[in-house]
């Protein structure tokens, strides 16, 4: 059916271009739409191309599609922004389940007495393995993320358990292949083993690493789809699945990199701490930001407030800071500076620096004006300031700076702090802002960080 295959090819092209577009913020939305149309095209082709058997069972198909489609659509629309990753994990598991189902059905379709050492049957077993691991693993990940499963379940020696499980699965598979015909009960045992393997695979991995695991399971689902495609010799399934498998793997690696972890650590190490280092015993967590995220967040925000402090001066980053301001303005972002009266080490320290960098005076807001505008600010960029944004001056009567007016940056959507370490500032006191829920730290010399940020913004 060359026409079918050519149409499938178009659908594959659309998938590829869709994926490519999905990887750039400006085109991502269109890319998603493109991939969706590719899927629609593939489905339509598959529904209507002529087949040997004529009992198409369209009713069942339509029923399935309507059921699944509406559930999926409603779930997607209803889910809260924060719960999206777990939703993705759930969806992914269902995809895996479908591969698993197909493998089961096709195994049961094998005529008794067929030779088992056959490419088709190996393929079926593989589809079963990958699909069911992806299914049960995703469900566990989903449970962990939505909190219904405790994150701290610690299996003893998870590496060994996993190794044993893997061996068991493989052995079982080989045993099945060595039978004289399809052995259904052995197959069901294999199925259970696979499902359990998925559970033991994901359970030991910590909550902080879940996004990586989901991405990994996602590439499994892709591979499962491709293998299922092999069963039917269906090219769109094969290629589409492989595409997801490949890009999912790369994505997983990229995500690990972004978190400064290795994939090996995440999966094999399987320790139950999170990738995010927790500060003190008071459960204070410092979130480190990544350049890429910050860049996009800044670029796509409406209003940014820069809070310069002594660190800006030490880093002599005034010019670079101005450069960032210009870059952001070129993107249509409204950028202002909030100047605290005692920022720096001499009266007017910030003024000197910013005047040198030619920041126009009307961009400089004084304390009161700034505090008024902070609530409507999307992102605050604290550059080497510390004491002047320390909320304990407001909240903690025991603090040596209690009563000093500060820039109330926590009012803004996100606070990004550029400094080199967790060291305190001039007053020598800890700053609760750095542990704030909406605060992200970007460690490093301010000039350096700003440089990188500009670069990222211009590229993103």
């Amino acid at each position: 059916m060359p026409i079918i295959e050519l149409l499938y090819l178009i659908s594959i092209f659309l998938f590829i271009i869709g994926l490519k577009r999905l990887s750039h913020p400006d085109t991502a939305k269109k890319g998603n739409l493109m991939a969706a149309s590719a899927m629609a095209l593939a489905i339509v082709i598959t529904l209507f191309y002529p087949m040997e058997t004529t009992n198409n069972n369209y009713l069942w198909i339509v029923a399935g599609m309507l059921t699944g489609g509406s559930i999926g659509y409603i779930a997607a629309k209803r889910v809260k922004m924060t719960a999206m990753p777990e939703m993705v994990s759930l969806f992914n598991g269902l995809g895996g389940a479908c591969s698993m189902l197909i493998a089961v059905v096709e195994f049961f379709n094998i005529e008794a007495g067929s030779s088992m050492l056959d490419g088709q049957i190996i393929t079926i077993l593989f589809a079963l393995l990958v699909g069911s691991v992806s299914f049960s693993g995703s469900i566990i990940a989903w449970g962990k993320l939505n909190g219904s499963l405790r994150d701290t379940i610690v299996l003893p020696k998870p590496q060994i358990i996993n190794l044993v499980m893997l061996l068991a699965v493989l052995t079982m598979g080989i045993l099945i292949l060595l039978q004289d015909g399809p052995n259904h009960s052995m197959f069901l045992i294999l199925l259970s083993l696979c499902l359990v393997y998925g559970v033991t695979f994901v359970t030991p991995i910590g909550g902080g690493d879940m996004p990586v695991v989901i991405s990994l399971l996602n590439s499994f689902t892709g591979i499962a789809a491709a293998i299922a495609g092999l069963i039917y010799g269906n090219n769109v399934m094969i290629v589409g699945g492989i595409l997801v498998g490949a890009s999912g793997t790369i994505l997983t690696v990229l995500m690990c990199k972004a978190m400064n972890r290795s994939l090996f650590n995440v999966v094999i190490g399987g320790f139950s701490g999170s990738g995010i280092s927790s500060g003190s015993d008071r459960e204070q967590i410092v979130k480190e930001a990544t350049l890429g995220d910050l860049a996009i967040q800044l670029k796509y925000s409406g209003k940014v407030m820069i809070v310069p402090g002594y660190g800006l001066a030490v880093a002599q980053a005034q010019h670079t800071c101005h450069e960032l301001e210009l870059s952001l303005e070129a993107e249509g972002v409204d950028v202002k500076y909030a100047i605290h009266p005692v920022a720096g080490r001499m009266p007017g320290h910030m003024n000197v620096l910013l005047a040198e960098a030619d920041v126009p005076y009307p961009k400089l807001l004084e304390l009161d004006d700034a505090n008024q505008q902070l609530a409507s600010t999307d992102v605050v960029l604290v550059i080497g300031a510390n004491d002047v944004v320390n909320p304990s001056a407001k909240e903690d009567p025991g603090s040596p700076i209690y009563g000093m007016p500060i820039l109330e940056v926590e009012q803004a959507g996100t606070v990004i702090v550029l400094k080199r370490s967790m060291n305190p500032g001039y007053a020598g006191i800890e700053n609760p802002l750095f542990f704030g829920e909406r605060t992200k730290m970007l460690f490093g010399d301010a000039k350096d960080s700003l440089h990188k940020l500009i670069n990222e913004i211009n590229n993103a």
């Binding site: 002599q316 005692v342 080490r345 009266p347 320290h349 005047a355 040198e356 209690y402 000093m404």
Partner: protein, 365 residues
């Protein structure tokens, strides 16, 4: 409360500007002023009237007010005409000379010395030393540029090239830092020296070069102030600075050690090595000067080098200086003047240091 100000005797500034007057009268206090007290700082009597103050003769102000606010402590005869237990808010500099403080005590008055407010973050808004030193640093550079027979900035012109002036700043405290910033703005090459460990980074944070002398003593317990240095250090510093001074077009010295005479840093031999026409501004002259030849409140020309001793440059920018001083006072009053009642809580960290005489008793030690 009756709060008053009189004309400063030898200063263009005024301690309270109409803005603060308005706030004080609104809170129910009575405010008395001697006519003309703000003239030199461009605050007319009319502005004081408008803010709700009452014009009184100097005598009347002195004899009737509960609180007298001034830039410098009143003269002996002024104190004599004041009410018993009246409060003087001014700069007494007790660490430098106890004379004035004793006079206050003798007249059974109270005295708050604004220059004794601790240099901590929370008290920074009341810190008159900072706001005045900042002006002095700025003005010192302008003055130096005015006296220098040469350009400050580098200029590449058709009539030849002018190299940038070299400015050497001794003491990178508030005044020194502001001087660095101003000189850099005008295009000079700036170097600075200080003994405090934090100074290096601070100097560099303004784009200037720090002259490092090893072995400086730094005392964390001195509240941010410098301490006296060892003889060995002084020698090292001298040798290094002699070299830098010879290359300098302008030297601005601001080095102070609290409670001591200012350290002698620029010696006669150093000045001998300087180019004719060069300028030295000694902001530490009132405590003895950092330069051997500087005379307080005088301009000396030695060997072609102009040496200006003036610790009161803030007074040459009277309008803004008064405004900042008055704002410092305003912030300070928040600590001790609740509505219209005086509350001198001597356990308060700030008041503990600032109240130097309480009802005739010297608290400063």
């Amino acid at each position: 409360m009756k709060i008053g100000i009189v004309k400063e005797q030898a200063d263009a500034r005024v301690s309270v500007v109409p803005d603060l007057v308005r706030q004080l009268t609104a809170a129910g206090n009575e405010f008395l002023f001697e006519p003309g007290c703000g003239h030199l700082a461009n605050f007319s009597d009319q502005l004081y009237f408008d803010a709700g103050a009452t014009e009184k003769s100097r005598r009347e102000v002195l004899s009737s007010c509960d609180i007298l606010i001034s830039i410098y402590p009143p003269a002996l005869e002024d104190m004599a005409s004041m009410k018993a237990n009246a409060l003087l808010i001014s700069q007494f500099q007790p660490y430098f000379s106890l004379e004035k403080v004793n006079e206050v005590a003798e007249h059974k008055l109270s005295a708050i010395s604004l220059d004794m407010i601790p240099r901590i973050t929370i008290a920074q808004s009341m810190d008159v030393l900072s706001s005045m030193a900042s002006i002095a640093g700025y003005k010192a550079v302008l003055m130096a540029a005015g006296y220098l027979p040469r350009y400050f900035p580098m200029l590449t012109t058709a009539a030849g090239s002018i190299p940038p002036a070299r400015v050497l700043i001794i003491g990178a405290g508030v005044a020194g830092l502001q001087a660095i910033a101003t000189a850099r703005r005008l295009g000079a090459i700036v170097e600075a020296s200080d003994t405090r460990a934090a100074a290096k980074e601070e100097v560099q944070s303004l784009g200037a070069k720090f002259i490092e002398v090893e072995g400086a003593k730094d005392d964390k317990s001195a509240g941010g102030y410098a301490v006296e240095q060892t003889e060995e250090f002084k020698q090292k510093q001298k040798a290094l600075l002699a070299e830098r001074a010879a290359a300098a077009d302008v030297i601005i010295t601001t080095a102070q050690v609290r409670g001591k005479a200012a350290p002698r840093i620029i010696s006669r031999e150093m000045v001998d090595q300087m180019k004719p026409g060069s300028v030295i501004i000694d902001l530490a002259s009132s405590t003895g000067g950092n330069c051997e030849m500087s005379k307080d409140k005088e301009t000396v020309i030695y060997n072609g080098v102009t040496i200006i001793g003036d610790s009161d440059l803030a007074a040459t920018v009277p309008q803004h200086a008064s405004q900042l001083f008055s704002k410092n006072v305003q912030n300070f009053l928040k600590v001790c003047l609740k509505e219209k009642e005086l509350e001198l809580d001597l356990n308060n960290e700030i008041l503990k240091s600032a109240v130097v005489v309480y009802e005739g008793q010297v608290l400063y030690k």
